[in-house]
Amino acid sequence: MPRPPLTVSLALAALALVLAAATLPAVGQTPKYGGVLATSPISAPPSLSPHEEATIAVVASASVCFNNLVYFDPQKKQESAATVVPELAERWSWQDGSRTLVFFLRKGVKWHDGKPFTSQDVKYTFDMVRGAPDAKGKLRVNPRKLWYENVEAIEAPDPYTVAFRLKRPQPALLLMLASGYSPVYPAHVPPAEFRTRCVGTGPFKLKDHRPGEYVEFVKNPDYFVKGRPYMDGVKVVFIKDRSTQIAALQAGQLDVAGSGWNKANAETAMKGAAGLVVIEADGGTNDNVLVNFKRPPFTDVRVRRALNLALDRAAYVKGPRQGGASLGGAMLPPPAGVWGLSPADLAKLPGTGDPTRQKTEAKRLLAEAGFGPAKPLKVAVSTRAVAIYVDTASWMVDQLQQVGIDATLEQIETGVWHPKMTRRDYQIALNVTGVGVDDPDANLVENFKCGSPRNYSDYCSEEIDRMIAEQSQMTDRAARLKLVNDIDRRLQLDGARPILGWGKQYYAMWPHVKNYVPHENSIYNNSRMQDIWLDKR
C-alpha cells in the first residue's frame, strides 16, 4: 500500500490534535459577555418557520429566536432521553402509565413583543402541528405531523400546566418535543408571519432579515435564563458555495462554518488558516438509495437484493466520502447513535463482505430475475444536483455498471427534487436523509412506515409497521433496542431503502468561539446558542 503524502499525514495529525483540543472543556475560563457571532448555514433557508420546513438551513437560522418545552442539552454531545433538559417547561411528569405527559411551565416568561407566555401557546402550537380538527392555527406544509399521531388531546387546565394525552404509551414523545423542529409558537401571531420574521421567547430577538442574504438577531435582555445569552447578537449569513464559505471563514468574516462540508473541505479550510479548529462529529445524516417499490423490476426482491449487494460499502466510505463516513443501517450506529446495529451485525449485511463475491452473487440474482448481458437491466439513478449527492451517485452508477446494470445518472434541480420524490417520479435515487431525532419513533416512522409522506420508496410491510408500533410503547430500554435492531436488520435484508452509510460532519471555527458543541447523533438540535461565548477582548 502506498504511503500517504506528507501533506495529508500532516493535515490528519493536525486534525487529530485539534479534535483533542476542541473537545476539552474550557477549564477555568470565565465566560465573557459581548460580541456578535457570524455563521453560515448549508444554504439560504426557504423561510424562518421551523414547523413548516424540513431543512437544517431553517433550524440553524431561526433556533436562536425560539424555545421548546424541553430541549436536548446543548453541552452534551450525544442526545438521548437522559440529556433532555427543561426550557419553557420547568419540569414534567409521566402519568397514567405513560399515557399522559404533563408539563409545568415557567412563570413570567414574555414573548419578544412583550405579551406573556402561557399554556395556551403550547396547546395552540401542538394542536396545529398534529393537525387537530379544532386547531386554531394551520400550517401551509406540515412535515412532522406524523411525530404527533399518537397524541389524542392537549389540555391546558391552567395558564402554567399543559397535558399531552396519548392514545397509547409513548415514552419517546418527550424526545420529539426536545427537537429543534419543535419550538413553541405564540398563539397571537399568525403562523404565516414566521416565514419572514419571528416572535419567540428565545435568547435572541430578530433584528433584520433579508431573504437570500442574511438574518440578524440581537440579545434578548428579558431572556428567562438569568445571565444568558453571553453574546450581543448572532448574524447568519447565507453563502451558497462551499469554497466561498471557506474563504469567508479564513478571512475572519465568519466565526463558525461547516454545515454540509466534507472532510476535504475541512482540510482545505485548515490549510489556509493557522489556528482554525475543526470538530468532526457524526451528526446523524445518512446516504441512502431510494428504490421505487411501485415500479417493476424493483417489485422483485431478487433485483432489490442484487442492487444492495452491488454497492460496496467500504468503497463508499473511502471513495465519495473520502473516509468521512461510517457503516450503518437505518438507525445511526453506536457509539454516536443510541439505537443502531452493532459492528458484528453490520458485517453480515448486504454490501459489506468481499466485493468480488458480492458482485458475483448480484449478477446471479439479476440473471435469475431475467437480466443479463443480452438483456441488461436499464436504470436511471436520480439525484439532487448538489455536489455531495452527485459525487456519491456517480460512484453508484459505476458500481451498478460493474454488475451489468445499464445505469445512467439523472440530476434533478433542488427546487423539484422533493416534489419529484414525493410524487414517486423516479426509478431509483441517491438521497441524503438527516435524522431530526435519533429515536426509532422519529426515524423509522417517518421513513419506513406504510403511507408516510417521507417514505419515498413506498416500502410497506404490515409486519414492520406492527413492530414499529410495538417498540414505541416499550419502557425497557434493552428490550426496545433488541426489537429495533431486529427491525433494522429486516429493513436492510429487504432492501427497503439501502443505507450506504452515515456521513460525518465537519464544523470549522476560530478558537475564540467557546462552548460550541456539535452533537453526535443529530444536526438539528443544538442551534440555540445561548451558552456560546466569544473569547475576544
Binding site: 468503497a315 451517485a393 459505476d398
Partner: protein, 300 residues
C-alpha cells in the same frame, strides 16, 4: 430550355477557380500561415485523440477506485486521479470525444441551418428578408452563453440537447455571413445570365450561388468551433451539459474539481489545458483560413 440550362452549368463549372495541384496549395498555406498550420495540426492531434480514445485511455473513464482517490500523477495514473479515484488521463482522452463531437456537430448544425436561412433570406429578399433578419436580430441580441443556457435548462441535460442548445446561437451568425455573400453573388452577371436563360430559382440558389459561399462558410465554421467547444465546457461546468459520470472537459472542471483544486491541482490543470488548446487551435486555424479565403484580405 432544360438542355441549354445544363449547357450553362457545364460552362460555369469549367470557368470556376483554376485547378492548382492540391499539395502545393496546402504547402503554400503552411508557408504563409505557419500559425494557422500549427492550429490545424493541433486540431488533427485532438481529432486523433478522440478517434483512438479507446486505445489511448489506460483505464475505464467512469470506473471509480476507492483505493486511489486524489492520487497524484504516477506511472499507473499518468495525470493523477479525481476524488472518486477515476483516472484523469483516461477522462481527458474520452472527454475529447464529447467536446469535439458536441463542438463539431453543433457548429455544423448551426451553420447549415443558419446558412439555409441566410441563402433564402438573401436570395428571395423583400419581406422574407426583412422578417427573417429581424428574427435573427432578436436571436443575436442575446449573448451566446445565455441563449445556450436557456435552451439547455429547458431541454434538460443530455448529449443531444447540449448539441441543440449550442447550435441555436450559431444560426443567426451563420445566416448573417451567408446572406451577405448571397447579396453580392446574386448581382453578379453569371447569375443574371442564368436567370435570363430561365433557370429555376431553386437551381440558381443551390447550384450557382451556394457553392460560391463555401469560402465564408468554412471560415464561419472554424471561427465558431472554438466558441462552441467553450460553450459546451461552460454548460457542462454548470451541470447542464453531458450528465455525470461521463467525462467532458467542462464537467471535469466543475464543482468537485474546484473544491479539491488546492489539494489536487491536476484536477483543474489538465482539462483546463485541453479546453485552452482546442480553442486556441481552432482560433488559429480559423484566422488563417479567413485571411486565405477572404478575397479582401488575400495578399495582405
Amino acid at each position: 430550355m432544360a438542355e441549354s440550362a445544363a449547357a450553362v452549368d457545364v460552362a460555369m463549372s469549367s470557368l470556376g477557380p483554376e485547378a492548382r495541384p492540391r499539395r502545393s496549395a496546402l504547402w503554400r498555406f503552411v508557408r504563409r500561415k505557419p500559425l494557422g498550420a500549427a492550429g490545424g495540426l493541433l486540431m488533427i492531434v485532438l481529432a486523433l485523440l478522440a478517434l483512438f480514445a479507446g486505445v489511448l485511455a489506460t483505464h475505464n473513464p467512469v470506473r471509480t477506485d476507492s483505493a486511489h482517490t486524489l492520487a497524484p500523477p504516477s506511472a499507473e495514473f499518468w495525470l493523477g486521479t479525481d476524488n472518486l479515484g477515476r483516472d484523469v488521463w483516461s477522462r481527458v482522452v474520452h472527454g475529447s470525444r464529447i467536446s469535439l463531437l458536441v463542438g463539431v456537430t453543433s457548429t455544423l448544425l448551426g451553420a447549415v441551418v443558419g446558412g439555409l436561412v441566410g441563402l433564402l433570406s438573401g436570395y428571395v429578399g423583400g419581406k422574407t428578408d426583412l422578417l427573417s433578419q429581424r428574427v435573427m436580430d432578436a436571436m443575436q441580441a442575446l449573448p451566446v452563453l445565455v441563449l445556450a443556457l436557456v435552451m439547455a435548462a429547458a431541454l434538460g441535460p443530455s448529449l443531444t440537447n447540449a448539441i441543440i442548445a449550442i447550435s441555436v446561437p450559431i444560426i443567426p451568425r451563420a445566416a448573417r455571413v451567408i446572406r451577405a455573400s448571397v447579396l453580392t453573388i446574386r448581382e453578379l452577371p453569371y447569375i443574371e445570365a442564368a436567370r435570363a436563360l430561365g433557370v429555376r430559382h431553386g437551381r440558381i440558389a443551390f447550384l450557382h450561388i451556394l457553392p460560391n459561399t463555401f469560402g465564408p462558410f468554412v471560415v464561419l465554421i472554424t471561427a465558431q468551433l472554438g466558441g462552441a467547444i467553450l460553450v459546451e465546457a461552460a454548460l457542462s461546468f454548470l451541470g447542464l451539459g453531458i450528465p455525470e459520470p461521463y467525462p467532458s472537459w467542462g464537467r471535469m472542471l466543475s464543482v468537485a474539481a474546484a473544491e479539491y483544486a488546492q489539494k489536487a491541482p491536476w484536477l483543474v490543470i489538465w482539462p483546463g489545458l485541453a479546453i485552452s488548446l482546442a480553442v486556441f487551435g481552432t482560433n488559429l486555424l480559423g484566422d488563417a483560413l479567413r485571411d486565405t479565403l477572404d478575397p479582401r484580405l488575400r495578399g495582405v
